[in-house]
Symmetry: C2
Subunit: 208 residues, 2 copies
């Protein structure tokens, strides 16, 4: 199956069949999320993978459409950082220095430009920017899943406060941005049999 | 090349070699953008593809890092909608009705829920939501390009007002969200030889 066939087969599953995804496949999908591009390489997010049945059950009331949560194999919750502080940036640069075997002082110019970039943004702007980076992760997870023949449903309709409480997320520094249920479509899910609706090319694309 | 190898090979290119991407490959990459998931299926964006050399030249001063613009094959500009009005939603439902051959009145419940969803959001919220959907497109374009062995550089550092003026975008209703230069990496671009830096698994993932 090539990637366009995989994307054409993809749809937002309303009901999964409760089968569990093999560990290796899950690992590959997560690796695809890890390899996501992010602005300045800062990866201002975390990826929580809810695999315990008990925890999925607890989360059901937090979702406006609970059927995905009660039938999926895993629920992925993407958390965005609300702030980027000095120690986070320092940690990032220590890590670059280590991985690339470059003395820290050689990265000073890059570090300065990142600090400038971050400092000039308001907290709201930082958070919006972090959320957008999280959506690249979301898309990368869905894309890899489609190629692996694994079904998904991205979900924005939930009560953040409930999820944060259940998963122990500190709302001062982090926020649930988006969630992704993954698993295998149930044969009963009628949406898989419907034609995909996309804007016609002339409304979506413009060549200049 | 499998998809994880393709993503590992990907990096944000600083300098392309000016070679032009074959039409069919470009078409496949754009199709991947078209097949992106979007919240409620609303696709609140447009995808502009700058292919004219003259237009690329004009856009150079709008970017903080001009070398990608002057050396890429195509520059893709993703525009997000600032508002979702009744006529847009009506057009969407007419289109669903047509593609799926369903009478409009059978879609009333879905239409009502979308209207409710949209109406309760402020204009800022609509726009943030639309921008996040645009990042799924960005990611899908990068992903397909990686699989096609085409290089990319996503860019957020530009003067929106200049791009909007040059490309004739109406800032009342639309906004440049993010841009993507695509082409082939130049051998001179030192960044391709550096190790990829990603948070270690224990800092990125948490299994619950």
């Amino acid at each position: 199956m090539n990637y366009l066939e995989a994307l054409s087969r993809r749809y937002s599953v309303k009901k999964f069949n409760k089968e569990i995804i093999p560990q290796e496949t899950l690992h590959n999908i997560l690796e695809s999320g890890k390899l996501s591009a992010s602005s300045l390489g800062l990866q201002p997010y975390k990826i929580l993978i809810v695999e315990s049945e008990e925890m999925k059950q607890k989360l059901i009331p937090a979702f406006y459409n609970p059927s995905q949560i009660s039938t999926c194999s895993h629920l992925i919750v993407i958390i965005s950082k609300k702030t980027i502080d000095e120690s986070y940036i320092r940690g990032y640069f220590n890590h670059i220095s280590e991985v690339r075997d470059i003395p820290l002082e050689n990265l000073d110019l890059f570090k300065k430009s990142i600090n400038q970039h971050i400092v000039q943004k308001s907290q709201d702007e930082i958070f919006n920017w972090a959320e957008k980076q999280s959506y690249i992760v979301l898309a990368n997870l869905m894309y890899a899943a489609a190629i692996e023949n694994i079904d998904t449903c991205p979900m924005e309709g939930f009560r953040e406060d409930m999820i944060e409480k259940i998963l122990g997320i500190n709302p001062e520094t982090e926020k649930v941005t988006v969630t992704l249920a993954i698993g295998y479509r149930s044969e009963e899910d009628a949406f898989q049999y419907m034609k995909k609706v996309r804007k016609p090319n002339e409304k979506l694309f413009k060549f200049i």
